[in-house]
Amino acid sequence: MTEFDPDDKRLVKFLKQYRPIAPQETVNLEQQLMESIDSQPVAVERKRYSLLHLASVTVGALLVSLLGYRFFTPSTTTAELEIFMVNSWDGAIGNESFSSPIESPETDWLILGDRDTQDSLDETEFEK
């Protein structure tokens, strides 16, 4: 509290002695107030709790997603990938060579021996 000088002390005493008295309530304010708050639930704290709950659920879901991605995705090394690619490539090349009738040894023999076969082969090539 303030250190009063004598003048202030007298003034404050006077003010307290003759302070204006608030008039009585014209209605039953307490009853009115309680009726008013009955229609206004205390929601803020619950809302805060809900928000907290939602935030923790979101963070949890993110963690689960990240950990799931990390642990449940099959790990593939570079070496395995290389082997897979080489095998695929070889397979593709192998199929290609068998499917070409021109480059087979039997075809080469036919070209040398038979003119008609040569023409028919040429036609086949054009059709392709």
Partner: protein, 205 residues
């Protein structure tokens, strides 16, 4: 978990009542109302006058009810409720500034009430040569009220809270959200102004 019997609420500390109210306990809020409504009403009356006093008081407690869950320090309740009271009084002043027509009507009403009081006082004085203590009490109450009305709302708030409601200066600084030095300064000027007014009106201090 706080366990308080309903019958014991009158003896329950404010902090526990605040915590219970934050959990939605309406009867604890009712007890807080009964403890604080006179202080709130008195402060509002000295800051804003009589008009719409019931509505303003109810506004304060509705704001308390709505805002209480946000109050983190239950021990801060007394300061906080004064702060809401101040905010309601300030809002009312802003509202009054907007409605000029209403203010003119209010001034006319105040003038007529004051005129009636003065006439009543004069007739009483004439009929009774010596002032009765009750009459002097009324006269001085009227003087103090007018003296307070002469102050700006900022000065009045500091004077009312400090000198009439016995709120500490540091707490007033928190309530009004101003530095402590400003509280001291306003208190000094408010006292000076009201002392001058009262002395001019013939009050012996």
């Amino acid at each position: 978990m706080i366990k308080v019997l309903k019958d014991d609420r009158a003896e329950t500390p404010d902090t526990q009542l605040v915590l219970l109210t934050q959990q939605g306990d309406r009867s604890s809020f009712g007890e807080l109302y009964r403890r604080y409504h006179k202080r709130v009403r008195s402060t509002l009356y000295q800051l804003c006058g009589e008009y719409l006093l019931d509505d303003l008081e109810q506004e304060v407690f509705l704001r308390v009810w709505k805002g209480l869950p946000k109050l983190r320090e239950a021990s801060y309740f007394a300061t906080w409720i004064y702060r809401i009271t101040w905010n309601v009084a300030s809002d009312r002043r802003r509202h009054l500034a907007k409605s000029r027509r209403w203010r003119q009507k209010q001034e006319a009403e105040i003038f007529s009430v004051e005129l009636a009081r003065e006439e009543h006082f004069a007739s009483d004085c004439a009929s009774r040569p010596q002032d009765s203590p009750d009459l002097m009490q009324l006269h001085y109450q009227d003087l103090v009220q007018r003296g307070l009305q002469n102050l700006s709302l900022e000065h009045r708030a500091v004077l009312v809270l400090h000198d009439l409601e016995d709120v500490a200066q540091k707490e007033i600084a928190e309530i009004l959200n101003i530095p402590l030095g400003t509280v001291k300064s306003r208190l000094f000027h408010a006292r000076k102004a009201i002392r001058k007014f009262l002395q001019e009106q013939g009050a012996s201090l």
